[in-house]
Amino acid sequence: MDYLYFPGCTLYTKAKNFDQTARNCSLLLGFELKELKNWTCCGATFPLATDNIMALLPPSRILATAREEGTALTTLCAICFNVIKRTNRLIQGDVEKRDKINNFIEKNYQGDLQVLHYLEILKKDIGFPQLKEKVKKPLAGLKAAAYYGCMLLRPFEEMEFDDKEKPALFEEFLEALGAKAIEFPYKIECCGSFQSVGSPDVATECAYKILGSAIKNGAEAMVSTCPMCTFNIDHKQSDIKQKYLDFNPIPVFYFTQLLGVAMGLDYQTLGFDQNAVDPIPLLKEKGLL
């Protein structure tokens, strides 16, 4: 089965490893990510002002184009997922805005598209028990902390992804790969997001709290679904190290990279060169490479 797929800008640049591993893994799992034609940037933030219809146009155009090709649209990046899913809900429920948007983008999109996240395909369409059976190299002994961030879950009544305060889907995924999922209280706290541009210290502090809490609870690696989070908690670790001398960096994986390891993909295709903290020593130590 094929899934219509919206990669998003970052997955073509800084997070190529996220995109590539997702595509390669899907083929091993029996489906293909069929890239949406003529896609654009999703806008990267869902507008907070109710009259900011301009910011809704890019995701609306993406949705309308996707509807011409299929009935569901799959995303990987948590921010794209958030923006596109929330825009879709808004179009479903708000006739006035829907008409205004359609009028502007010269489409007639009614909101009848399902917006999916890759993890949802793994859980609902493939099934975690079935995924477990397909795993070639179980990640036995790897203690990994699933980091949700904000965008997958909130606002929870719009995202309908998992429990807002105590999500478990991501952990179930890691357990299916054979890893030990580490529980830590900061798994749904904000990574600092775009603060890393204007107030980098704020973002560093956020990342330090998240990483510190995960490490204290026994995590050897973090797993992310979002290039933004990954930037803050992976690439910022050198800044943290400068400020907190006793901090020991740990690798941060995209969940598809770990899926790739477990599915037995050649590690040279997993794009570890784009990870800030090199995960190869840890994987070697665990006998996974």
Binding site: D163, K164, E165, K166, P185, E189, S213, K216
Partner: protein
Amino acid sequence: MKRLGVFICHCGANIAGTVDVKSVAEKIGKTEDVAHSADYIYMCSEPGQQIIREAIRGKGLDGVVVACCSPSMHENTFRKAVKSQGMNPYLCEIANIREQCSWVHQKEKEEATRKAEEIIQATLEKVRRNDSLEAIAVAINRRVLVVGGGIAGITASLDLAEGGYEVILLEREPALGGHMAQLSRTFPDLDPAFSGLFLKASEVERHPKIHLHCYSELEDVKGYVGNFELVIRKKATSVDRGRCTGCGICIENCPVEYVSQFERGMGIRKAIDTLYPSSVPNKPVIYREHCRYFIDGSCHRCEEVCPEKAIDFKQEDERISEKVGAVVVATGYELYPKEQLGEYGYGEIPDVIDGLGFERMLSPNGPTKGKIIRPSDGKVPKEMVFIQCVASRDPDRYMPYCSRICCMVTAKHAKIYKEQVPDGQPYIFYMDIRSDCKGYEEFLQKTIEEKRLLYLRGRVSRVFQDDGRVRVLGVDTLTGKMVEVAADMVVLATAIVPSNGVKDLAAKLRATVDRHGFLTEAHIKLYPVESSTKGIYLAGCGQSPKDISDTVSQASATASKIQALLSTDKLLQDPLIAFVDEEICSGCGICVEICPYEAREMDPHRGISMVHSALCQGCGACIASCPNNACELRNGSASQVLRMVDTFVS
């Protein structure tokens, strides 16, 4: 030809600010059978009523329309006014041109003026065909049922009994007291809650006019104001109340222990137990779902040790029938379950407790004998976080309303904590402080200053366990900074919600509840203790969140209202009810089944349907369902209604 009078009220600027009352009065005055048309600034005032009285006398009117506010406000006022001049009160009708016209069309003055005129014309059509009617007199039972034995039910029962009326008091728990029995001390005087309650509860138990049924529920209600017929289910206590002396030997010997809800999960209770130590009545019941005799027959310990042979495993539920004239619903509240609050840890963190849990902890008869200790390890908490407005004032996710008691409860908690743990630091997260009753603000200011309480204005986003402590993430909106507290214990001031089962009870009583399940009063300002169903009265937190002072005041108000109701032998009821054209009725019986008030009955001899005038509420269900149009509403007949509709559509 009729001689009708029309009186148009300005209601200050409420009506006249939108509707051109002068021109309406002038136009209506030109109607053929309108002998008098006038307007006045306040028709309900004494001079206004005088205008009506004089016109009736002077012009010999035989029908009146008052165009003003809703009939629920002043219909009675004007009917009394016309009656004083010898006119039948049911020949006076209200044309509502305020709520249904001027208030909703403030920006469309011309249209509003036209609509007001049409409303008056339509009401004239009704009055032209109104009959003179007499109120229906119904005999009245002068006993009262009180549902709920908390402080509201106790107060109402005592007031009524002191007034000389017999009271039946139902409490579903085995003892009186409600949530007040769980409290330590009350604000703003810091009196021990239990001693005051105990005094009143004992008085109830002894009072010759009060029939107390604990461990009992209302199973069925029939009838109407003045004449309710009840079926009460007394649950089997498995203890012979006559023999039991309350010695407590059975409780000591019972081998079954489980978590006590009364102690908010922090204490244990036995399978045979009283509701709380020294409860009123102080006799135990067997909680059958926990008792080994009832689970597998393996234990007879209590039966063996009871010196009075009072244990009766064979006892069954008992059903009692009673008759009363009025009912007080004093069903009280619950706290919003912390198990449903994700941001505070779904009730899974042992050191996060709710306000009633903290009250139990502070109570000398509670699980810790009044000592403040962490439930997880028994240590004295040095950093305490109190969170106000938990699940209150949060329309998106929880309850939109203010629970009213939390500000004061939290200040009291922090004060007592600081007295017991002088080197401890309380932090209080709040939205704003509401302390608007007598002595509250003074109590609060004194407490904050003397105890140096740290109030942080802002919400808490998450609470979680970390390193054996409870980490609280919040914000202080006055400094704009994030706040993180590593607390030893957290107390949540959770929202007040109606107690379980109120919706079912309300349905039995035909009383209404709002969307949160609080019982609705007939009018928020003018009839605050009456429900929308006649004869059903409200007291306490079942109606809305309130503290003990307000609950007691409301319960006394309710009791006074009922005493006024029961002070006469006969009750006068509106005659605006259904009647049957006996010539047309075919006796099909559809109306009997459809009537929600059991007011329709077949006459077996004549084979036609009858209306029980005391039961009929004039709802019109039978009229709509009658296939032969044999049924009509007095002064609301089909021909009247159709002519009114014609006025609007022509």
